[in-house]
Symmetry: D2
Subunit: 376 residues, 4 copies
């Protein structure tokens, strides 16, 4: 709760957009896992702003530093403190929003809840906090691919299965940008890193480039839907009744800034289906249970089935836009606001690595929980 | 986690579908709240099966009994133990599913996770557990309407504001049954209790009656979408970053049996909007802040805005259907199953009071949290 | 917190001294553990009142019933609900204490904290609650003796190691009754069940019989010190820094009614020692690490060393005595009170099985935690 | 749990003795509290090493820096990140202990639990961690003296009651050094800061100076007992049954490095008393309840009575001594060790401000909990 996420694998994040630094403390990571900044930085780089014209032009190298919990290259089982020093804090940009409440932001609610707010860049409510989710998620991935629950074939080594060749692989993609959906027949995971949208459909990505460029130039913004898929998840993760894997994923994804909806597998579309069309029939195949479909998104009764875990979440359009919007100020006067400055025309893009990270954290937590429960 | 919900206002549920009883322990309820079984029973009655041909014909009076925590008609601040004795446990019905895994149910995942399962009526995975959510929710409602944060006009009484006349009012309705949506122009809360679907659109309800009758007779099932609205919620509830009100609501709703999606306010539709169309402009009105729209669903930055809190969740079609579906059995043989017995053609209907209850529990918990934080 | 104990192995207790029943919900117990009422009842019998003239004459059979979480004789991994119906609720005894605050009891503090109190037998503050600790502790013992951390010799069975022949053995004894200590040279665990004091020193027990008889007849009471010893605890249990095994034991023991002090190993006496006298030197012996002493009480740095874990706790004299004591009543008038009725001349005696139970619960919780952390 | 302390007012500490820094994240502090480094530093200075010849000569300025959660001099309600950069990390000192397990330290248990240990200065097990407790405690004190539960007389200001003039005052003193106790008749709180032992008895302090000098010169060490007293605590703090104020204090104090025993009020001495001698009689005085004694240490039924809360804890002698002690090394060979380097001849001295800090944290947490519960 509050600024901590997780039960056994936990992280507590801290820091404001325009404070000296942001950071988090990862607590509950098992020992003997090889870890250095090099394991974390690539994921932060993926989320880093200003990599294309479609994300905010704030320049932040986002270089992470490990301050504790690692000794001679391995985790010690003690808290891992991570820190990123803020660089590009253009506080001068924030003169106008000092006294006005930006609609769609946390300005008004923070002021009402706390009686005080750090207005510089949104303070604590800034999506800058998600950098620490990504950092924690990188550590979670190490746990997921180092688990006795995922034993390699006989003779193999239990250590450090590469994400791509074994263990649990977590990937995400943008499947909707504003009104435009990807064509699932064109889905190619390899394309995701070939365009600035994390789009798995090369053709759609081309179309999106023009579409978002128009929106960006007009000072507007648009929403998006992200799909996160975890493959290689063993059967048995998740705790009924109030620790269901889908429940924890919903909590995790909805806690990301600007997210307004979460669905698992068939999701909202399942409401329109009949029972026989929604059933994932089962068959033995090579001595193992196989499913004929994955309408369930890899979760039944709150517990992973062994199929890919599939989650989608919707991100609203960036609230900071150039259009003038009516609002009020802190002394209770009517006014209006248009947000200049450096913003993402679609915050959904940079939410892709964040969604992956939250999936990793939820799964790592569930895996530690399951270990604890397993008698034999 | 596990079988406990909440942080300060908590309940821990227990019991299996065909065990001797189900129950829960509500821990964290403030003292001096008038409480008796009569405060809880009406909500349980609303959820009770066999009230129409559209829900399971299992006969369960679901009479709740308070075993502790109430003295001379008032809560004492100590745990409130609630129990409902099971009556209609037709265990003979469950011969076939003893050895086969029903697709869409928790049969296979429970077996894999625990190495054992109580197959009688789904055991712990039965939606019967939701009765205890409804019971706990009834107590949460008492807290919500007895809060110093919702003071009555001067000279008024701080106690027991009736839901309808003041305080926080929580209501839910079925807004989609299978492929059929309500027409929001026909929305009338008063209609919700006039039809067996909790449908706020009288015309739609008529149509649904025939539609669901056909599905029921054919032994099939269908999904649904439920909308839960809480009015009178004060500004300031919810804790950033990992205790956001929307995050907690998503967790809560997704933990209800058969739920596959959750959205707040505009939800998934927000992804297709542009920033200026999604903005809830603000204006002073009579000395108070008013919003021109509620695309946000009453939550900004994870904190309630003072507007109605609006949540929708999607329920998949009942997995128990008469159609033969391929599956496997516990010794790893291929087989198939058709579920006879007494089932709901649309479990979404009985999820309506459950959704209300979870909203009440989340809000009560958030309200106690906010009290703790408020210095002045 | 509140009425729940533990992190992974948890129980939530409920019920008042003179309500219809008391109970608890054990949540987090692994599946596949053989369990029936017969595993729990013997421990409750040990704690049961009225077994000698030295404990309260209240007649309570304390028959426990399992309401959930066990199927065909084995735990299912789901919550285990336990209930004991109250039998001998002589409410008429409580006329006088209805309005007066008994010094040393929770009467005054409960009234101030909650604004209401169930005065019948102390309500929730009654030591009757400890019956549920004993019941939960019986389940914890099953976990402790069914752990992969305690593997049997090759070819043996991993299941249900008897407490006495292997696994973790937890025993407690009264080592001080009022001013009288046991002579540790006479210590014989077998004697503990041969006298009504759980005294390991047969000679001391004889002396104590006369001593406590005098106190009982004079309507007075006396305190006691209990020592709890857990043998067979593997090295590595306990979590630094705020989940240290000694810290959790201190919390657990201090939460027992009437306890005023807790110490580990040498305890308070260690303050008077010099470093060289307090050191537990180590030596290899048969390929294993052995300690020359156990001043540390089996815990170093908050983590079990593999030696016996030794805890002592002090119980104050029963506050309910026949001597008139000055007090105030609930309308703020001076008055006095002498407590008639059925009370223990030394509540420390019945605290012996309670101390054992809390040790078992702390260790079971720590063992599940350690499983979760262990990568290899 | 793990490295986090508290429920509503929490802090998570991190860092090793010889890493780049140590720190903590305080989460749950209410907003609008005036806070700067100057509020924290004086308490750190009190704990700082090398202030006399009786504590370790390691030179650490222990300058704390606030990295988040404070804006324009006030807390914002968001996490407060505190950091202290390590200065004097003489890693060369630690050659010998790299491979040997120091008896009485966490060396052996950490190695067994985690399979790895940062041997430099004890790594995470170093008492250096307690600096962060002291820092968090300084913030807790601000909460305690800013509480609506402690309203000033009418017309007064609710803000920032100075510790000495009102609100809750927390003080601690060394009451036993090795075999030597203070004479309580000489108790003078003003003396505590006049000697290097935090001793309230000026005469005893003189004696102790010679006594501890001898011990120090001989390379030995000795234990101590610390008494912590909180005055001005309102009635009603603490949560039965598993969140009792005494239970939480026992957990908190026992979690401090080297602590082996905790007692409340009369503590272990209560075991030898008769009921009538242990009763704290009550009397109305000036319209308020007064107690004739405080054998209970300010807590009844786990809840504060309004009297001073009195806790004592025993610290074992420093394990690092010059005397050769038998031990084993990490490859399982017999060896022996004598610890050179800079150590405290009595770690109990520097535990005095740590005990105060833990008292403050427990009380602040309990106060926030009580606010949440209070309906009216």
């Amino acid at each position: 709760m509050l600024n901590r996420f997780g039960t056994l694998f936990t992280f507590t994040s801290w820091g404001e957009s325009h404070g000296p630094a942001i950071g988090c403390v990862v607590d509950g990571c098992p020992s003997l896992i090889a870890l250095s900044e090099a394991d974390i930085q690539p994921y932060l780089d993926k989320r880093r702003p200003a990599q294309s014209k479609y994300t905010t032009q704030r320049k932040e190298p986002d270089e992470v530093q490990i301050l504790s919990g690692v000794f001679e290259g391995q985790t010690t089982g003690h808290p891992i403190s991570l820190i990123i020093h803020n660089q590009d804090q253009k506080s001068k940009d924030y003169g106008e929003i000092k006294d006005k409440f930006r609609p769609g932001h946390a300005d008004y609610t923070y002021m009402q809840k706390y009686g005080i707010r750090d207005y510089r860049g949104g303070g604590r409510s800034s999506a800058r906090e998600t950098a620490m989710r990504v950092a924690a998620g990188a550590i979670a991935r190490k746990i997921l691919n180092y688990s006795p629950l995922n034993l390699p074939p006989e003779g193999g080594e239990a250590t450090a299965l590469a994400g791509a060749q074994g263990g649990i692989q977590i990937r995400a993609a943008l499947v909707q940008l504003g009104k435009h959906h990807v064509n699932r027949e064109n889905w190619d995971w390899a394309e995701v890193n070939n365009n600035p949208f994390f789009c798995p459909d090369a053709k759609a990505a081309e179309l999106w480039a023009d579409y978002l460029d128009d929106i960006r130039k007009s000072g507007s913004s648009v929403g998006a839907v992200i799909e996160v898929v975890a493959e290689g998840v063993p059967v048995g993760l998740g705790e009924p009744v109030y620790g269901k894997l889908d429940s924890k994923l919903a909590e995790a994804m909805m806690s990301i800034n600007a997210v307004k909806g979460v669905e698992i597998g068939e999701g909202f579309a399942a409401a329109a289906l009949r029972g026989e069309d929604n059933a994932d029939a089962m068959r033995m195949q090579g001595g193992e249970v196989h499913f004929r479909g994955n309408k369930a998104g890899g979760i039944a009764g709150g517990i992973s089935t062994g199929q890919p875990v599939v989650v989608r979440f919707a991100v609203k359009p960036t609230s900071s836009i150039l259009t003038q919007v009516d609002t009020v100020d802190k002394v209770g006067e009517n006014t209006s606001i248009r947000t200049k400055g450096r913003h993402d025309p679609c915050v959904g893009i940079r939410a892709v690595p964040v969604g992956e990270a939250m999936m990793a954290c939820v799964l790592a937590d569930a895996m530690l929980m399951q270990r604890a429960r397993k008698i034999s």
